[in-house]
Structure formats: structure tokens, C-alpha cells
């Protein structure tokens, strides 16, 4: 009681509501799901919540090919998407940075995809890639490039391509905007000094611009890795993991197992694995960020 009135308590009191909310909505449910991942909990049979089965869910998962496919596809998806977005975003930022006229308008256009709900992005590309009425096929037809409709969202390779394309459409601009801000903050003197020292354009980029941008790059990667799982919404409406699990990701698989098959215990085990994957990516980039900052001369 005495502590609560002392000034030392102030920061804790300020943080209390935030802590309570996170406890109630994240931590407690996660504990519940941690427990259920060791039970044979099925939604339809409430009593099974207390049927402890040890590591059986995890064992089954690890021995299940569907799971491993989804797992591998998810890791691939995150890796490919984040890296491609980074490269394209960097390219776009460099291009726009060279343009002197209408930069603001360009930046505004780039914000466009960021406002789209992932579910809208999914719908949009489901429509565009539709084999019968989609813009893509229509264009290819009328240009005389194809004579049979291409089943973009059905054939395994194409379907995965379409999903990655949609994901990149949605998120490349996040990188572009952040890196553009970085480029604009780039001090001029080092570049001029490097020019005087005889560096060519590539060397200037490689030795001055890029190191300076590194913190921005890792911030962008950290922010993106935080919500890369939003791609679930997109996939859900585009293919829902199908057809025949050709585009199944961890996230779609777990909802199928949890809600459609009611195997909550199993789904939660998968949920835990997906959480660990997300945290791993975030922590990886965050650590890179801190070291990049330290490298930049301790700029906090």
C-alpha cells in the first residue's frame, strides 16, 4: 500500500492498464492454448479439455506430412516475401529519390496498398487472377498471348506465385516508404566526400548509402515480420489453402484443423509452432536492427 503511493510506483501504475489488457487477451489465452495443446480437446466434446495426452499432438504433427508441407511453405513464404519486398522496395525508393518532381504524389500513391485490408487484397487478386473474368487472363487473351484460360489459382506453382504477388503488392510500399524516408535523411557531406575521393555511383551506394540505410532496412523488416501473418486473411479468401492443400500455410491449416475438424488441441499445438516462427523472425531482425544501430555510431 505504501509502495502504491510512492513516486516509484508511478510508471507501474501508468503501465497497469496496458499490462492487464495484454494479460487478459494474449497471455491467459496463450496459457490456455498451451494447456490444450497437451490435451485431446475437441470443440464438440467440452469434457475433453481435461483429457491430458502429453506430447501426443506434437508427436502426431511432427509425423504428419501435411503439417511439414505447410510448415515449409510458410517459412518459404515469409522468407521469399520479405526479401523480395525489401529488394523491390529499395529499388523503388532509389528510383523515386532520383525524381525531383511530384515526389509527394508518388508517395501518396505508394500509401494506397497500405490502407487495404488484407482480406480486400485477397479478394482483389482473386478477382484479377480469376480464370474466367479476371483482368490478367482478359488482357492476355486480347493481346493474343493465350488461347486457353490460365488457371492462376488452381495450378500449384501459379497459385503460390499469385499469393506471393498479392502479398508483395500489399507490402512492398511499406519498405519503399520507410527507405525513402531514410534516403531523404541521408546526410549529403559523406556522399560528396566520397565523390571527391573518386568513388563511382555504385561505390557510393555500396559504401555510404547502404550502410546508412541498414537501420531503416531492419526497422522495415522488423515491422513487417510483426504482421506477416496477416497474409492469412489474404490466402483465406484467395484459395483457402486449396485446391488440395497446394497453397496450405500453417495458418490456414490450423484453422481448418481447429474449427472445421474441431481438433482444438491439435490446432493449438500448431498455433504454438506458428507463434514461435513469428517470434523467431522478429527477434532475428530486431537483433540485426540493434547491431546496425550500434554500428551507425550508437545513434539511439
Amino acid at each position: 500500500m505504501k509502495f502504491l503511493r510512492s513516486p516509484r510506483a508511478t510508471p507501474y501504475l501508468l503501465l497497469l492498464p496496458a499490462i492487464v489488457v495484454i494479460l487478459a487477451v494474449v497471455l491467459v489465452p496463450l496459457l490456455v492454448s498451451f494447456w490444450t495443446s497437451f490435451t485431446g480437446y475437441t470443440l464438440t466434446k467440452p469434457a475433453t479439455l481435461f483429457q491430458f495426452v502429453g506430447l501426443r499432438n506434437y508427436q502426431r504433427l511432427l509425423g504428419n506430412a501435411d503439417f511439414w508441407w505447410a510448415f515449409a511453405r510458410t517459412i518459404m513464404f515469409i522468407t521469399i516475401a520479405l526479401n523480395l519486398e525489401l529488394v523491390l522496395g529499395l529499388g523503388l525508393a532509389l528510383l523515386i529519390n532520383k525524381i525531383t518532381w511530384g515526389q509527394r504524389t508518388l508517395r501518396t500513391i505508394m500509401m494506397f496498398p497500405m490502407m487495404f485490408s488484407p482480406i480486400l487484397v485477397g479478394f482483389q487478386f482473386k478477382y484479377l487472377f480469376n480464370d474466367a473474368v479476371g483482368l490478367v487472363n482478359n488482357a492476355l487473351f486480347d493481346l493474343g498471348l493465350i488461347h486457353e484460360p490460365i488457371a492462376w489459382l488452381v495450378e500449384a506453382g501459379l497459385a503460390n506465385f499469385s499469393i506471393i504477388f498479392a502479398e508483395m503488392w500489399m507490402s512492398t510500399s511499406v519498405f519503399a516508404i520507410l527507405l525513402l524516408a531514410g534516403l531523404m535523411a541521408l546526410p549529403k557531406e559523406p556522399i560528396e566526400a566520397a565523390r571527391v575521393d573518386g568513388c563511382n555511383a555504385w561505390q557510393v551506394f555500396r559504401h555510404i548509402t547502404l550502410p546508412f540505410l541498414m537501420p531503416f532496412i531492419y526497422i522495415a523488416l522488423t515491422i513487417r515480420s510483426l504482421d506477416v501473418a496477416r497474409a492469412y486473411d489474404m490466402v483465406k479468401i484467395m484459395t483457402n489453402g486449396g485446391p488440395a492443400q497446394r497453397t496450405e500455410l500453417l495458418w490456414t491449416l490450423m484453422t481448418r484443423v481447429g474449427y472445421q475438424n474441431s481438433q482444438m488441441g491439435m490446432a493449438n499445438a500448431m498455433g504454438y509452432i506458428s507463434i514461435i516462427v513469428s517470434i523467431a523472425f522478429t527477434v532475428f531482425y530486431y537483433r540485426k536492427l540493434t547491431s546496425a544501430r550500434a554500428f551507425m555510431g550508437g545513434a539511439q
Binding site: T10, I22, L30, L95, M115, S117, L135, L178, T282
Partner: protein, 287 residues
């Protein structure tokens, strides 16, 4: 950077412009196509060969989803819209208040466990919505929060609070401590000093935090799709999926609904885009 432009040869300059043009086309066309579809009659959308230039524009698709046409049953779009608005606005306002308190604590006080707490908040944000939806479904079902607006509001609070803390921490740190101290010397209590000096100065930053929170709630699907069941709490993004349940995909209707979802986000974003970018960038760079 204008100095460097003079060093490019004309063909390089045109190549750069062409590259930017292609990128912008890719960014704009898909969305624009959906918007256009929302205003086209179904015959044109389904026409073979494709009709590129619309012959006529119509509002029928919107009338359709609002149930104003006798030919098809409407969706409770109005109710979805209201739900979305109530849920997003409430959770944004509350998340902002809670997050601002937290951000202020991190920016202004030293205390034990600070680093660990901050990390904890950020890690809570990494938990994918889908993965969280499973246990939340179990817990919310037990305490009767399934299919209620309150249930979703609370969930969105937890999603938005960490990011708000992160942003506001950055913004408050930008404001020199001296100012609050000067205000206290001038006779303010710490509370008055906050409201009269620090809060007005952080306002732009708080606005951007608010937009982020609003957009996140407004656009969220993974959790809403599991935690809502009926018109009592279904939001617009979940409503969009109503269409796919039907046998024939109603592209025109879905496009119309998509336009409804995007408009508020669009308006809001353009109004405050400057703060938005500031928020995105410096929370991390300087924070």
C-alpha cells in the same frame, strides 16, 4: 539529391521515370479495377470477350448489397458498417489512452524491469492473429464474449496497445524533459505539465498512432471471423466473406462492398498522411 540528377544522362533519366511509372501502374491498377467493377453492370463484368472501356456506370451494385433491389436479398451491410465503426472507434480511443500512458512511462521514467516489459509488449504483438484466435475462441466462449462487440473491442485493444506504446514512446522522447520541468517550476503539477505542454506537443504523433490503430481494427479479419457469428458483431471484412458462401461469386457486389470498406480508410489516410509517415519512420529510428 537534386545535385545528383544533373549527373544523369537523359536516357537514364527517362529509364528512371519509366521504372517509376510501371511501379505506380502496378500499385494503382488492381485497386482501381475493383473500384471500377463496383460501378459496372454485371453483364459487362462477365462479358466475353472482355469489355475494357465501360459503356455505362451504375449504382445498382450498391443498391444490391444494401437490399434495395427486389431481385436479390440484401446483406445486413448497414449493420456491419455500424459494427465496424463502433468497434474500431472505441478500441482506437481506448487503446490510445492506455498506450499513451504506457508510452509516457517508458519515455519518462526509469524503473526496474523496464527493458523486459517493453520486450514483452513487443513480443505480444508478434503472436499471429490466427494463432491467437483459437485460444481466444475457447476463453471468450466460456465467458460469453463470443459474438459481442465488447469481445472484439477488447481483442483489438490488445493488438493496438503495444504498437501505440512503441509509437508514443518515440514521440514523447522527442520532447525535451526540460519543458515539463519548466512547466513544473512555472507552477504546474506533473499532471498539468503533461496536459498543457507535453500532450499538445505530441499531438501529431498521437494522431498517427490513432490512424494506425483505427486501420488495424477496421481491416482486421482473422480474429473477427472466428469471434463473431451474427449481425450482432460481424464487421465489414467478415461480411465480405458472406459472398463466397454463395454458389456463384458475385463480383460486382463484392467490389461494391470492397469500396465501402476502403473509403473510410482512404479518406483518413490521406488527411493525415504526413503524420503517418513520420510515425512509421521515427518511432523506430530514433526510439
Amino acid at each position: 539529391m537534386s545535385a545528383s540528377l544533373t549527373m544523369e544522362k537523359p536516357w537514364q533519366r527517362w529509364l528512371i521515370r519509366f521504372g517509376v511509372f510501371v511501379a505506380m501502374v502496378i500499385l494503382v491498377v488492381p485497386g482501381a479495377w475493383v473500384v471500377l467493377t463496383a460501378f459496372r453492370p454485371n453483364i459487362e463484368i462477365l462479358a466475353r470477350p472482355a469489355v475494357w472501356i465501360p459503356h455505362q456506370l451504375t449504382l445498382r451494385n450498391f443498391q444490391g448489397i444494401f437490399g434495395l433491389l427486389t431481385t436479390q436479398p440484401g446483406l445486413p451491410v448497414v449493420q456491419y458498417f455500424i459494427n465496424s465503426l463502433v468497434i474500431s472507434v472505441t478500441s482506437t480511443v481506448v487503446a490510445l489512452a492506455i498506450g499513451m500512458m504506457g508510452g509516457y512511462a517508458f519515455a519518462r521514467y526509469r524503473f526496474r524491469g523496464k527493458g523486459a516489459l517493453f520486450l514483452g509488449f513487443m513480443l505480444s504483438r508478434t503472436v499471429p492473429g490466427v494463432a491467437l484466435s483459437l485460444p481466444l475462441f475457447i476463453v471468450w466462449a466460456r465467458i460469453g464474449l463470443i459474438d459481442t462487440e465488447l469481445g472484439l473491442i477488447i481483442v483489438y485493444l490488445a493488438i493496438n496497445v503495444p504498437f501505440t506504446i512503441w509509437l508514443t514512446d518515440g514521440f514523447f522522447r522527442q520532447i525535451p524533459v526540460d519543458l515539463s520541468e519548466a512547466a513544473q517550476i512555472d507552477g504546474c503539477t506533473r499532471w498539468q505539465a503533461f496536459w498543457r505542454v507535453e500532450f499538445p506537443l505530441a499531438r501529431a504523433g498521437l494522431a498517427s498512432a490513432a490512424i494506425f490503430a483505427f486501420l488495424t481494427s477496421w481491416n482486421e479479419f482473422a480474429l473477427a471471423s472466428q469471434l463473431s457469428r451474427t449481425t450482432a458483431s460481424k464487421t465489414l471484412p467478415v461480411g465480405l466473406l458472406d459472398f463466397t458462401a454463395q454458389f456463384n461469386v458475385d463480383w460486382a457486389g463484392m467490389s461494391a462492398l470492397a469500396v465501402l470498406i476502403i473509403i473510410p480508410a482512404l479518406v483518413l489516410t490521406f488527411v493525415v498522411q504526413k503524420q503517418l509517415i513520420a510515425g512509421l519512420t521515427f518511432g523506430g529510428v530514433k526510439g
